[in-house]
Point group: C2
Chain length 232, copies 2
């Protein structure tokens, strides 16, 4: 009887561990999609862009599988602590799914960009995107290790991303005012930059989930504020 | 013993009903925020815009409360069907939270818009926003009534929203090309329009949750596709 109980407990833990591994795998796929999207912007490679857009389906499929796994684990009547872990898993996977969507949208918009001559601003976009990809990878590590301090560093570094975004936004506006032919491609760049800034926000959401997993109900520590392009 | 069991069962149902009522209340708050945001764009009322931005915190607070309620209900070891209902509740409230964010962002950007003279395109934005608000209210009704057909109608009507969005997007680009002074305000309008289109996507997400609540694992029926401004 005791042995059977041990067996059940072990198997729950195994399944929960497998769930977390699956989320990390999904997260690294999304980060790789983002890298690939930034590459196709630089290389102006429409074929590769299409492949990235198509790959997004694989990430969505993992999210659906994770939903099922969470459902199955929750039905086994976990204790509060385990329930918190699997509900957080549901949120983290939703954030990763959005990161994947934004990466795919960057790739998709790059094909629209390629209808116009190359613009110098893709370099600023690349810097923004590389930082966003780093944030995603760092927060995945923090999630894997349940490292609240590392998560807090990701949250704080989001301000850097916002500063880069705001700078690029202003630069693009100026460029559009100087050359009307640049308006259409720059508009795509604006949306691509916004996507990258949003990826940073989702990394921040994941960081906040890590914080709550470690510290429970305790209030989040303060952090610096968001992008300044919204308002006057 | 039997009576006590009845009592527990009834109380679970009551709590679950209360959870769904709370989500509907949150949803109607988000729809009201959207209406208010569209009004301040028309009236160019910065003070009212600030109030809308501040009100968003109330919606975020309800989402946190719903997270707790879901956690509490899940700890009571619900059956598969009830667990599916409360996990869907978690997703629906996350979508509503995003709808509230987008509505607040429309209000916030209106203050940037008010630094420039009025533009004729706010009328197109208003039409887009009113349709988005209608979609939100219709999907909340479908969720309340667990009406999969009504949910499917919301999903299909999202194509109308996308068509309006694409039209407005093109119109704004043309306008920017004709008058460089319009570039900054039109960029804000582009992002505001994108926010409204995204609100429609979140209404669609909720519709899909309603579909799965009613039909279980069954595959979603096909629907028309999204906005055409992303790509070539």
């Amino acid at each position: 009887m005791n042995q059977m109980h041990d067996h059940i407990v072990k198997s729950y833990d195994d399944e929960q561990r497998r769930l977390l591994e699956e989320i990390l795998r999904m997260g690294h796929m999304a980060a790789a999609q983002l890298d690939a999207a930034l590459d196709v912007v630089e290389r102006r490679d429409d074929k590769a862009a299409e492949r990235i857009v198509a790959n997004d389906e694989a990430i969505d499929a993992i999210e659906r599988a994770i939903d099922h796994d969470v459902m199955r684990l929750a039905l086994r009547g976990p204790m509060a602590r385990d329930l918190r872990i699997i509900l957080a898993a549901l949120k983290v996977s939703a954030d990763i799914e959005r990161i994947g969507d934004y990466a795919a949208n960057v790739a998709k918009r790059s094909t629209a960009l390629n209808l116009s001559p190359p613009l110098p601003h893709t370099r600023g976009l690349d810097a923004l995107g590389r930082l966003a990809a780093q944030q995603v990878r760092d927060v995945l590590d923090a999630y894997r290790d349940l490292d609240a301090d590392a998560a807090q560093r990701v949250r704080n570094r989001d301000a850097e991303l916002d500063t880069l975004y705001t700078g690029l936004f202003r630069e693009l506006l100026t460029y559009m005012m100087e050359d009307a032919r640049a308006i259409t491609p720059c508009t795509h760049l604006l949306f691509m930059a916004k996507n990258l800034e949003r990826i940073g926000d989702h990394a921040t959401n994941i960081a906040e989930n890590v914080w709550f997993l470690v510290h429970g109900e305790e209030q989040l520590p303060p952090r610096e504020k968001r992008d300044a392009t919204n308002s006057a």
